[in-house]
């Protein structure tokens, strides 16, 4: 059966009054959960998990997807208004969303975030339905060594975003990885670096670490002086704040290239198991910054800086769903929970799942599409209430949010140990931020540390030959890309001043063509040849000191 026949077959199952109501409640719950720092999407989806027992598989999974989509979008509210990402998937949204809100335009920032989330979700839905099998094939090619290299690449990218402080950025990433080693080792589960403290053997849960590093350092940094503490979040003109839907829609639609690119990055990262929206939002932001003609404005309230992470994080859900549905591999914790919900109903996802259970599979695809429209519709109401936060004085927000964070963190595992983790990492984050260390690479290091070690142990379990890191095309691809990411801040700083910067882009193309050429099939080697030829041509022209006759615009933009 074709796509449309399958969708038509699934539609009656999904479009019932009960399922639609459940999805609306789920979307609203996700939006609220995502908006409260410390109360994450994962937690909201976990709270929903007991309900599918009494529902049909389609009802239960549609509700969970609604919570997931709502949560991904809800995170932008707290990220933009308070500077604390409601979820890890909106970390990069704070880079420009918060400065824009602080500069007196919170309504515009929120509107841009909502529209970007919506378009990201819709694009991902279409990709999910149309090219799902092809995208899932790429994820299938990945071996543990490729995952490990991907993680290294993700860390170098975040470190390189520290700009002049790349040294501290790299150190922060390594400190994050080191924090993740404390507790027990992933292979044998034996205590490691506990220094005699028994409770430390359980390690540090990611969410208390994230909230501690972000919430304390940011909130307490904002109340250092009496003047700052008494400042209203939306400035003294907070009463004039309103959400400029039309203006933000114009801004977003006018940057359709960024939306498309970021959404595709989101889908691609979502396809890769264990990558998830925590990585995609940062990668998309990085790419948007690199390709923008106004890269100087990033970090100060750039529109593209809000569009990129928000499009990507919603699109990642689509990519994660592809792998979960087609292969039974959870791309992130949310899809892992959904996998559990499917198993509740004796539905076992496998490569034949879509063909064996087309009604459930295509209902889920449709639910993801519909949930994005519900998110757009319901967020307008949720945002109106949430914007009131901007009228609150900073110290009031700080005190209340710190308490909410502690309650939310306790509720994750019902242990006070997590609250102590929150406190300790609050101090670490505050001190390190004060010393000029970027927090994001450290957080990413904590998240990815366990996964990286697990993948590395799988690599060594298969072979002791470390040449596998450069003999595997995808591994080499990510490692080389990681090296270029490390050089990128220097390239950006010296652009137009040093001669070597003229050869950065051509060399990137030529070097990256090598692993792409090593990949199987005809398409990718052909693409590699095109990349190498373009890079070679650019190199020759630049060596001669001339511009390419028909690509001056693109050359300037990449520069």
């Amino acid at each position: 059966m074709g796509l449309f026949e399958n969708l038509a077959g699934a539609a009656p199952e999904l479009f019932t009054i009960k399922t639609m109501l459940l999805m609306m409640v789920g979307t609203m719950a996700g939006l609220i959960a995502g908006a409260i720092p410390g109360f994450t999407i994962a937690m909201a989806v976990v709270l929903v998990l007991p309900f599918p027992f009494s529902m049909t598989p389609v009802e239960g999974l549609a509700t969970m997807i609604a919570v997931y989509v709502g949560g991904l979008s809800g995170g932008l509210m707290s990220g933009i208004l308070t500077g604390i990402p409601g979820t890890p998937s909106s970390v990069a949204t704070t880079f420009d969303g918060y400065p824009m809100a602080r500069s007196g335009r919170p309504g515009l920032a929120l509107g841009i975030g909502v529209w970007a989330s919506f378009f990201g979700g819709v694009i991902a839905s279409i990709v999910l339905m149309v090219v799902a099998p092809q995208l899932a094939m790429i994820g299938l090619e990945f071996q543990p060594v490729d995952y490990f290299s991907l993680i290294l690449f993700a860390l170098t990218v975040t470190a390189s975003m520290a700009g002049d402080q790349i040294l501290k950025g790299l150190m922060a990433a390594l400190i994050g990885l080191l924090i993740a080693t404390i507790g027990s080792d992933v292979v044998f589960g034996q205590p490691r670096f506990t220094f005699g403290v028994d409770s430390v053997a359980q390690g540090f849960a990611f969410l208390p670490v994230l909230v501690g590093l972000f919430a304390f350092s940011r909130l307490l940094g904002d109340v250092r002086t009496r003047e700052k503490a008494h400042q209203r979040l939306g400035g003294e003109e907070a009463h004039a704040v309103h959400i400029d839907y039309l203006g933000s829609a114009r801004e977003v639609i006018g940057r359709w290239g960024n939306i498309l690119r970021s959404s595709l990055i989101g889908v691609f990262v979502g396809v890769l198991p264990a990558a998830g929206s925590t990585i995609s939002n940062i990668l998309a932001y990085d790419q948007a910054k690199k390709t923008s003609k106004e890269s100087d404005t990033f970090g100060t309230g750039a529109v593209d800086g809000i569009i990129a992470p928000e499009s990507a994080n919603n699109a990642t859900a689509g990519g994660a769903l592809i792998v979960m549905m087609a292969l039974g591999l959870p791309g992130d914790i949310m899809t892992a929970i959904m996998l559990g919900a499917l198993l509740i109903h004796d539905v076992i996802p496998s490569p034949s799942f879509i063909t064996d259970e087309p009604q459930i599979a295509y209902s889920i695809f449709l639910a993801f599409f519909v949930a994005n429209f519900m998110m757009l519709f319901l967020q307008s109401f949720t945002l109106r209430g949430f914007v009131l936060v901007t009228k609150v004085k900073m110290y009031m927000l700080a005190a209340v949010i710190l308490f909410y964070c502690s309650v939310g963190i306790f509720a994750l595992n019902n242990v006070t140990y997590d609250m102590w983790t929150l406190f300790i990492f609050g101090i670490i984050g505050f001190v390190l931020r004060g010393l000029g260390f970027p927090i994001v690479p450290m957080v990413l290091g904590v998240v990815l540390g366990g996964i990286a070690e697990s993948r590395l142990s799988q690599v060594f379990a298969r072979s002791d030959d470390i040449m596998v890191f450069i003999s595997r095309p995808w591994s080499l691809f990510f490692l080389l890309l990681g090296c270029f990411s490390l050089v990128f801040p220097f390239y950006q700083k010296n652009l137009g001043k040093k001669a070597w910067t003229r050869f950065f882009v051509p060399l990137l193309l030529i070097v990256q063509a090598v692993p792409v050429f090593m990949m199987p099939g005809i398409v990718r080697p052909s693409l590699a040849i095109a990349m190498a030829m373009t890079g070679g041509l650019m190199l020759i022209y630049r060596l001669r000191g001339e511009k390419l006759p028909n690509s001056a615009g693109s050359t300037n933009s990449t520069d």
């Binding site: 400190i175 990885l177 670096f193 220094f195 609250m419 060594f460």
Partner: protein
């Protein structure tokens, strides 16, 4: 050698790397041809130590880039955040006695007052904010979401 902020940071991380590296020798040996539990931490510690050395050199080469603030000035600048940390610490320490509800009310009220001021009108506003938000959040978690928050010895509700 110029002792500036980054130099202190670099030395601290070098010492940390040394301590962790030594501690990694206490970890059990690998079994069944698996990866050693000490390998991954050492892979992290070596570049971290190298980057710390680089930071130390950088701090000596460009000492002017570092802030020259006395310790007392730094304490004064961060006085309010430190008080907030102390209050949060007391909130956690008194949790078994006060519980999440009473402890939360006291913590939020005191944090608001430390940051916002102690005038009677402000104290009234802070009391209202504490009551509304703490009791509201406590009710949402315990009644609506069914989360069992820590009860205290003073008031045994959760």
């Amino acid at each position: 050698m110029s002792l500036n902020r980054d130099a202190f940071v670099a030395v601290f991380f070098l010492l940390l790397c040394a301590v962790m590296f030594v501690a990694s020798f206490d970890l059990p040996p690998p079994m069944f041809g698996q990866m050693s539990p000490a390998l991954w931490p050492r892979i992290i510690l070596v570049p971290l130590a190298l980057l710390s050395v680089l930071l130390l050199f950088q701090s000596q080469r460009n000492p002017a880039d570092n802030e020259k603030t006395s310790f007392s000035d730094w304490i004064e600048f961060n006085k309010r955040p430190f008080v907030c940390f102390v209050l949060f610490f007391l909130f956690l320490v008194t949790m078994p006695v006060a519980g999440m509800l009473l402890g939360g009310l006291a913590y939020v009220f005191l944090t608001l007052s430390v940051l916002g001021g102690w005038k009677p009108r402000q104290l009234g506003l802070h009391a209202v904010i504490s009551a509304v938000f703490v009791i509201g959040m406590w009710a949402v978690f315990t009644q609506a979401l069914g989360v069992l928050l820590p009860e205290g010895e003073i008031l045994r509700v959760y």
